[in-house]
């Protein structure tokens, strides 16, 4: 946990020209090693990750990005002979493709098991599906399910690694990881606040730049992030609040009171109903999709009123800190929670988030699946 506080000098950009005292290097190394030792067996929710484990995943993603940057063959042999099952009970082409690409780039055999349309009470039970996958020898199951807790249930029935790709209104931990990865790229390191990733998701990690080394081992300490929108139903918000907090960021969630859960006071974040006030000087604004269907539950009177109160337009965009970024997990409701000029404008990292998603999911699969059979804490 101390690595972030102590890293600035230890991870200075000039490290290769500097003589690092052995003991100092060893301390730093021990912090980083602990993160790897703290990696969980399954990734169900963001709280499965200690700060160290989360940083280990982000660092690994940076290294993977380095390893395949600019290559003709963007494939690694790491998970050759392993089977990764994408078990999707909900329609989510984006997430499924991202996981599929991640697994394939690590040379895993990928099976897409789409159970969409089968409501929880109809068809084969989750348990029977799990037992089937177990007997087929799935090394990892990536599950998307409309019921909160379904991935957790799966861990009772399957020996392989379970990765939660979004469960109900619970969590979506790999989305939070890719968001944290994107935030760190833009906000941490020598060019903090600058355009560290001007090159986009592929990253400029050649011998020309050293900015990756600036970020390795570091969290998001002191960075201010607002998460705006349907917090009540958002698994992205739940995962991000937990993860960004454990990485040292200061998170404020912003929504009309009807879209905030009762009990949110226990979350490690601030809560605001007032977008303009909350926006001032923050380093990143993460906009969540608001579904028109929510109007059926009378969560807000009209889309127009929602947009007036909680939509990110150019006027509000100007309230952010210099160098701040605008994020959206997608798919966007242009004109609803985010104005097109903001979505396509300066500091928008929406497409970069998608690219980073593949890299981060590769890191998760490598770290959780490659050493399968090893003792874990």
């Amino acid at each position: 946990m101390t690595s972030a506080q102590t890293t600035p000098e230890e991870t200075s950009p000039q490290r290769q020209d500097t003589v690092i005292r052995g003991d100092q290097a060893a301390d730093c190394q021990a912090d980083l090693d602990r993160g790897y030792a703290e990696l969980p067996r399954h990734l169900i929710c963001a709280s499965d990750l200690t700060r160290g484990a989360a940083i280990a995943i982000l660092d690994t993603a940076e290294r993977i990005d380095q390893a395949i940057a600019g290559r003709e063959v963007r494939k690694l042999p790491t998970l050759r002979g392993r089977t990764v099952v994408n078990l999707f009970y909900e329609d989510s082409t984006r997430t499924r493709i991202s996981f599929e690409l991640a697994a394939k780039r690590l040379s895993a055999d990928v099976i897409n098991f789409s159970a969409k349309g089968s409501s929880v009470s109809k068809g084969e039970s989750l348990k029977d599906t799990a037992l089937t996958l177990q007997s087929m020898g799935a090394d990892a199951v990536v599950i998307r399910h409309s019921a909160s807790g379904a991935p957790q249930r799966l861990t009772n029935w399957i020996k392989g690694t379970i990765v939660n790709a979004g469960d109900g209104t619970h969590e979506h931990p790999t989305q939070a990881l890719l968001d944290a990865f994107t935030l760190r790229r833009h906000l941490v390191g020598g060019a903090a606040g600058g355009n560290a990733t001007a090159g986009g998701g592929a990253g400029g990690s050649t011998s020309a730049g050293n900015s990756v080394e600036d970020r390795i081992g570091r969290g998001l300490d002191g960075k201010r992030v607002v998460i705006v929108g349907d917090i009540l139903h958002s698994r992205v918000a739940r995962s991000n609040v937990t993860l960004l907090h454990s990485l040292g960021a200061h998170v404020t969630v912003v929504a009309p009171p009807t879209l905030l859960p009762v009990g949110i006071e226990a979350w490690p974040c601030d809560v605001s109903y007032h977008f303009d006030t909350a926006l001032e000087g923050v380093d990143a604004a993460m906009m969540l999709r608001v579904q028109n269907e929510r109007m059926d539950g009378a969560f807000f009177p009209t889309p127009r009123e929602y947009t007036r109160g909680y939509g990110l337009d150019l006027r509000r965009r100007a309230l952010l800190a210099p160098g701040a970024i605008v994020m959206h997990p997608g798919p966007m409701n242009r004109g609803m929670e985010i104005a097109p000029a903001v979505a396509d404008g300066e500091g928008s990292v929406v497409t970069e988030q998608v690219a980073n998603g593949v890299t981060v999911r590769m890191a998760v699969l490598y770290l959780l699946v490659s050493g399968e059979g090893a003792d874990r804490v």
Binding site: K127, E171, V262, I264
Partner: protein, 469 residues
């Protein structure tokens, strides 16, 4: 069995004859003669140890020289030293699933669970298939209970047809049937329509009926999965707010007061409900209330891990509610501990949380849970346990031969409890056909050793007595 009736009738205080004695006399059912039983050295209500002699279905002698009683000659002796003697327990709220849900429970398996839990009488909720909303169905349940013979099974009738909450069922017909139904409930559903609830409360006054309400404002629990609070916010499970219960408790207390009827609140689960009931009682409203064992011991944090064995309606609540419910039970604001024994087949629990059916087993663990929550915490003594688990439920359910004092001339419906034993709950070893107990693997205090129904052992040494079935 009928030969016990006359003796008991005298001890029942001028009330109309109980449904059971009526029922029993309606159904031809001769039991073999039961040898007298002499319980040596047991402690009624945990007080001074005495000998108790049971013969002809009654307590015929109590004291220290009972061995000299004529009926003691040839009596079978039961060692009672170290055991506590209570009146047989009475459960106002059990789901026996028969007819229609026999893969989860039957009247036979539920009766066995009840006897092992120290019960001599249980009330069967009407959410069966078909619904117990006619005289025919309630009589069927009564008959099934009778044939099993391990406990007295008293049917509860539905308030509305099919428990759909739109039209009153034929309440008077059920009341005047062989089952002599006195409690009506749509349990599992709330009688949400305030006008229909008012009519039901009024209507049952004609036959001293009770409306047992499942308090849940349905519009406030759309998509609800667990208590709405800190844990639900983290787990992303739909919230079941306390106010959904309390709004109905408040409304129905006011309705019961207005029409002067007897309202019984099922499975009260929140501190707010307890306060509302206390206030209504203080105003003189005829309201009684029950709490389940699980609401006295478990909290909403049990939902962590998403094992649906912990999913129940109303949901498990935070510790502040648990503490308030324990106090309310100790203070008499809540009258009764009722199990809400709700067996579910495995396929209905081995699922995602949202897909699972709500409910928990209760009959075999209730006494131990009450001891853990109330006796070991010194909130109740054993007389208090007898009051909330036997006397009060029998009174509310108009069972005149259960929940009686331990005294000469009273029916020999009794339970002997080892108060110092500790045991570990094993779901797979339950007499219930289902295994959905949230207490699986937990070590609990106090164990039922023997249960006697009208002087006949239904449970001996912790197992169903030979010949009892």
């Amino acid at each position: 069995m009928t030969e016990f009736v006359s003796g008991q009738a005298q001890s029942a205080s001028g009330q109309a004859q109980s449904a059971f004695r009526q029922a029993h006399s309606d159904i031809e059912h001769e039991l073999p003669a039961v040898a007298p039983l002499l319980i040596r050295g047991a402690a009624p209500y945990g007080e001074d140890a005495v000998d108790v002699l049971l013969a002809d279905g009654e307590i015929v002698a109590i004291g220290t020289d009972v061995v000299n009683h004529p009926a003691a000659d040839g009596a079978e002796v039961i060692a009672g030293a170290g055991l506590i003697l209570l009146p047989g327990l009475v459960d106002l709220h059990a789901h026996l699933r028969e007819p229609g849900g026999e893969d989860a429970e039957t009247v036979a398996s539920g009766s066995a669970s009840a006897a092992l839990g120290g019960y001599t009488a249980i009330f069967a909720m009407p959410n069966t298939e078909p619904t117990a909303d006619t005289a025919g169905v309630v009589e069927q349940v009564l008959r099934l209970g009778h044939e099993v013979g391990l406990v007295d099974v008293q049917p509860i009738g539905a308030v509305t047809v099919g428990r759909r909450g739109t039209q009153l069922a034929e309440l008077a017909a059920m009341a005047s049937s062989a089952a002599r139904v006195t409690i009506f409930s749509d349990d599992g559903h709330c009688v949400a329509d305030p006008l229909l609830m008012r009519r039901a409360l009024e209507y049952v006054k004609a036959f001293n009926g009770v409306i047992a309400q499942h308090a849940e404002e349905p519009r406030l629990t759309v998509g609800a999965q667990m208590h709405e609070g800190v844990v639900s916010a983290r787990l992303g499970l739909g919230g079941w707010p306390a106010v959904a219960e309390e709004a109905i408790v408040a409304r129905d207390c006011l309705l019961a007061e207005h029409v002067g009827s007897h309202l019984h609140m099922c499975h009260v689960s929140t501190a707010g409900s307890a306060e509302l009931i206390a206030a209504a009682k203080a105003r003189g409203t005829h309201v009684t209330a029950e709490v389940t064992p699980h609401h006295l011991l478990l909290t909403d944090s049990a939902a962590e891990g998403y094992d649906p064995v912990n999913k129940v309606t109303p949901p498990l609540r935070p510790q502040v509610d648990v503490d308030a419910l324990r106090r309310a039970l100790a203070d008499g604001v809540i009258d009764v501990v009722a199990t809400d024994h709700a067996p579910h087949a495995r396929q209905d629990k081995e699922t995602e949380w949202a897909a699972a059916k709500p409910g928990m087993l209760g009959l075999e663990t209730a006494l131990s849970v009450v001891v853990a929550a109330m006796v070991e915490t010194e909130l109740l003594d054993w007389r208090g346990v007898a009051r909330v688990m036997s006397e009060n439920p029998a009174r509310i359910g108009s069972l005149t031969d259960h929940g009686r004092p331990i005294a000469v001339g009273e029916p020999a419906n009794l339970v002997l409890i080892d108060p110092v034993a500790r045991w570990t709950v094993h779901a797979a070893e339950m007499a219930s056909l289902s295994q959905n107990t949230p207490f699986d693997g937990m070590e609990l205090p106090a164990q039922v050793v023997h249960t006697f129904l009208r002087g006949r052992a239904t449970v001996r040494d912790g197992v169903i007595a030979g010949g009892a079935l």
